[in-house]
């Protein structure tokens, strides 16, 4: 199961930016080696089997587990790193890793960047001078079509859904695949949290409208099994591009 990460840097390609790009790629490989649940030898796989302890794992494991615990609290359990019965922090790791990769580029002087981890996106600066980045939101009911376009400067956009590989997000309350929505998109300042909230929103179903929209700084769009989109009033989609309604 592959995830494509792409980097789009709209600043002059200085040696520092090139070095940071290599650093960001190396970081993602490190994250994969440590956190992949598909690799039996990863730290997280060994931790899940009880073969090691958090203290013996790379420091990032402890950081991620603390974030997972906080995510569980913030979402009243709708996000869980043990939704399937075994430790699997994947629902947080991808957004967190992309957020960090974006920070690496920023620290090297890249001010206008789009880092995309399998459709979970962290934007900084602008796509072009005076023009915000524009992110299409895939329509889960019509593969290949866009539902709407989100515009933003410093913004994270995360979508959870069934479109690509069928039902694969678990409802932590039942341990079974969530079926209340086709997709949930969350925008906000941090991709770590946008990704967590999108995963939680997908598990919540209709409850997400109220629970996620209430979170300070984050907005949500949901798509019902009938293919109908709903977004709260603050959702940063470009006017007239979507069938949505205010909160």
């Amino acid at each position: 199961m592959g995830t494509v990460f792409s980097f789009d840097i709209r600043d002059p390609a200085t040696p520092a930016v090139h070095a940071a790009l290599h650093g960001a790629v190396a970081w993602l490989h490190h994250v994969d080696a440590v956190f992949s649940t598909y690799r039996p030898d990863s730290a997280v796989s060994r931790l899940a089997r009880g073969e090691t302890t958090v203290e013996r794992c790379p420091a990032e494991v402890g950081e991620v587990l603390r974030l997972c615990a906080e995510a569980e609290r913030r979402t009243q359990g709708w996000f869980s790193a043990t939704a399937g019965g075994v430790l699997d922090p994947s629902g947080l790791v991808k957004g967190w890793a992309v957020e960090r990769a974006s920070e690496v580029l920023y620290a090297a002087g890249a001010r206008n960047t789009c880092v995309n981890g399998g459709g979970d996106i962290r934007l900084r600066g602008e796509g072009a001078p005076g023009t915000p980045w524009r992110i299409g939101i895939a329509d889960p009911a019509r593969p290949g079509r866009l539902l709407t376009v989100v515009a933003g400067r410093d913004l994270a956009v995360a979508t959870s859904g069934t479109a690509e590989r069928g039902c694969h997000i678990l409802d932590p309350r039942t341990g079974r695949p969530a079926r209340g929505l086709l997709s949930a998109t969350v925008t906000g300042p941090s991709l770590t949290w946008a990704d967590v909230y999108a995963t939680a929103a997908f598990a919540m179903g209709d409850l997400a409208r109220d629970r996620i929209a209430r979170l300070e700084g984050y907005d949500v769009m949901t798509v019902s099994p009938a293919g109908e989109a709903w977004a709260n009033a603050g959702f940063p989609c470009i006017a007239d591009t979507v069938r949505t309604q205010g909160a």
């Binding site: 789009d8 699997d88 980045w133 895939a138």
Partner: protein, 141 residues
Amino acid sequence: MRRAAVTTLSTAAGVVLLLSLKPHQSAPPPAVAAHRPGTSPPAHAPGSSRTGTFTGDVIDTDYGPVQVAVTLQQGRLTAVKALQVPSDRGRSREISSYAVPRLTQEALGAQSAQIDAVSGASYTSEGYTQSLQSALDKAGA
């Protein structure tokens, strides 16, 4: 349909494929998705020096076969060309005409006047990703 190779307009761009990092809070992967468990990530490393065009495997999707070729210059991905995309049915053609240029732009981090990237997924993307990955494998990138 826009099938020609797209050259990136970004001043710097990179793509990395990680085989084994799952998206989201996942159920065990379906057999078809777990096609190469445990392999090390055959990622494009921007520091490597391979140059040339490499053709990916043909990947069958629900909508038909997908195949891409990649062009690398000194290890950097400079172009992705769709060699085969679903086109024999109206709906497939409609999907491909949108999805493939979009995926190519995503892969290259290329600039588009309209859309810079897409959040969410499409059916074709899995096949596209697999073919892209196999092309990068062949390049030894």
